[in-house]
Subunit: 347 residues, 2 copies
DNA sequence: GCTAGTTGTCGAAGCGCTTCGATAGAATGG
DNA sequence: CCATTCTATCGAAGCGCTTCGACAACTAGC
């Protein structure tokens, strides 16, 4: 690294002491407008930037935020977590934090699963995005470093979270379908152990109930173990084979499953949306390239990352272990799978 | 952050001086096996880890590597750069470096396009993945920080690079087709200004020439301005409308274009691979989910990231400005678009 | 037995910053 | 006009680490 101006150089050139420069730098203590102005000018002239190691050493802070992501989540095609990360990165810059990103494997193994930035305590706070091993979370707790979890939560709710508002999403979906005169509204989901999936299902039930509609239980499928494409495929298949009265609309726990449903319906020559309307969840990239394009629930991923960082950095100076739970509002993206007249956006 | 043991604590407990502990820590100087052993034991007992700010301050090194990515590249669906990043992250850990990831926009704007880690000189080296603005690269050069570029290069070749071996890829494609008895082998590409695309084209020409085959120029299309799906679509369309004699096989500059080709061929009821065989480049996720699945050229993205880090960290201590150009070997992934009998792997 | 070298250890200075307590000087009040 | 308070500034210590030069304690050579 090149020789750069230090705070000393600034002090000398501005004819003030080191401490004064430091005070200006940090907007602390009393500094006369005149000296402040002078110091700031010199800083600009010299192109001075404080060295983060030095500052970190003095403050006993690292200036870093750790971002932990499950390996599988990060490498998946859908850039869901990538966007969350970008939102976080952006906001971290605003707060003068660097983000140290690391991925962890599902299987926990103390020797290689503990991110180095934790061992070295080189972060002032930690963001956890998506599902990671509980052991790891316990380890982090033991360090008493502030944590915010994104798109994931534990049953104990001991940690601050930033989650998408799945209830609202289900509500929007139901309302949309009601407005289109649907009354026979089914639900297809899986893996109720997953908090988000579970909430979507609860939201669906609740919204229908609010509307005074009692769905035929045959239109509700939540026994699939996972939420992949084939689970959706199999779920509709089973549902339609086991009941004569078809629903006119289906709310599906996520887009992947919805796309699976779509596949089966098309193979069965059931027209979407004419015979069955379909709403997914997540607004994945593929949801607008399928035919017909998929109506779905969207959430601002960048916002999730941003808000998580904001929550975290508020927490850091106070060393607070106060927990905050934030729900990010979602929105309905109307496409062809519910409204025939809609012009395709993608494809 | 919790109160952690410092080097002082270790020294006290091991009955040696600070300097001795430091020497042990860094494997420097002469330390008797006995003291070394003793110090190491105490380090383990205390769970001591050196604080990176302190070390950074003393060494005038940050222990960080900057990773610069164009915003568009990172957010795209295909996790190409994500994988490169992960490979880099992994290798960085092995060298005790942290990676600071940042994305930059295409449009250069000094006030917000210069990553903070550069302004603050908080990195010991920089990785640049994919195409970024030349202005930014010039800025980095002006800091004289070691740089390695991944999957991108400038015409001046002043920087170390880690690139995929596009020539070899084209060669493999041609050889594969020759083995399948194809002799009428065409090429579809676009944007020859892009180094990789250009090399693929050169590789194609060269390999055919080596085989003593002179392709009909009507089977070569390189006038498309970009390499997106529709460019591929339009390119075959134009080609097949303008010539009577069809090629029996096409090598396409990347999978996106190849998929565009596939679309047009299917719409025109031209059977793939029976009438025209197709080979893409990049092995994108979609290439195995299309029907028929696409034969393509694959490169180990993780390896690219890993090797880039290795190249960079070798460079850092020497402050060397020596440039190394590394080509990552590619491999052929045979799927249905060239061999009818192949069983589909994906889908 | 003395010099010359070698080896292992240590003390102190220094990296660039923050911050506490001290201190001049200005402003205020009686 | 002096005592008191307030304001702006500064010096020095300290954050946790590395490293250079010093120095005892050995070893080897003659």
């Amino acid at each position: 690294m090149l020789q750069r101006p230090t705070i000393k150089d600034v002090a000398r050139r501005a004819n003030v002491s080191l401490s004064t420069v430091s005070l200006v730098l940090n907007n602390k203590g009393k500094v006369s407008p005149k000296t402040r102005e002078k110091v700031e000018r010199v800083i600009r002239e010299l192109g001075y930037y404080p060295t983060s190691s030095a500052r970190g050493l003095a403050l006993r802070k690292s200036g870093n935020i750790g971002f932990i992501l499950s390996y599988d989540h990060f490498t998946q095609t859908e850039p869901f977590y990538t966007k969350i990360f970008l939102g976080a990165e952006f906001e971290a810059q605003n707060h003068n934090y660097y983000i140290l990103l690391t991925t962890v494997r599902k299987e926990y193994n103390p020797s290689n699963s503990i991110p180095r930035f934790l061992q070295e305590r080189n972060v002032d706070g930690v963001l956890i995005a998506g599902q990671v091993n509980t052991k790891l979370i316990e380890y982090i707790d033991s360090l008493s470093i502030p944590v915010v979890m994104i798109d994931f939560t534990l049953k104990n709710h001991k940690h601050s979270t930033v989650l998408m508002n799945n209830y609202q999403g289900a509500q929007l979906a139901v309302e949309h379908l009601l407005k289109l005169q649907h009354r026979k509204i089914g639900y297809i989901g899986g893996d109720l152990a997953h908090p988000s999936i579970n909430e979507r299902f609860q939201g669906y039930r609740y919204a229908l109930q609010q509307a005074g509609i009692i769905p035929d239980e045959a239109w509700i499928s939540v026994s699939q173990e996972d939420t992949k494409i084939h689970n959706g495929y199999n779920a509709v298949k089973d549902m339609l084979h086991s009941t004569k009265s078809m629903p006119t609309a289906l709310i599906v726990a996520n887009d992947a499953m919805a796309i699976g449903c779509l596949q089966f319906l098309q193979e069965s020559n059931i027209r979407v949306p004419d015979e069955i309307a379909l709403i997914g969840f997540d607004n994945v990239e593929k949801s607008y390239s399928v035919q017909p394009s998929l109506t779905t629930i969207d959430v601002n991923k960048y916002a999730m990352g941003e808000i998580a960082v904001r929550t975290l950095v508020e927490c850091i100076p106070k060393e607070c272990h106060q927990v905050t739970h934030i729900r990010i509002p979602v929105s309905l993206v109307v496409r062809e799978s519910t409204e025939k007249s809609v012009v395709s956006i993608g494809a």
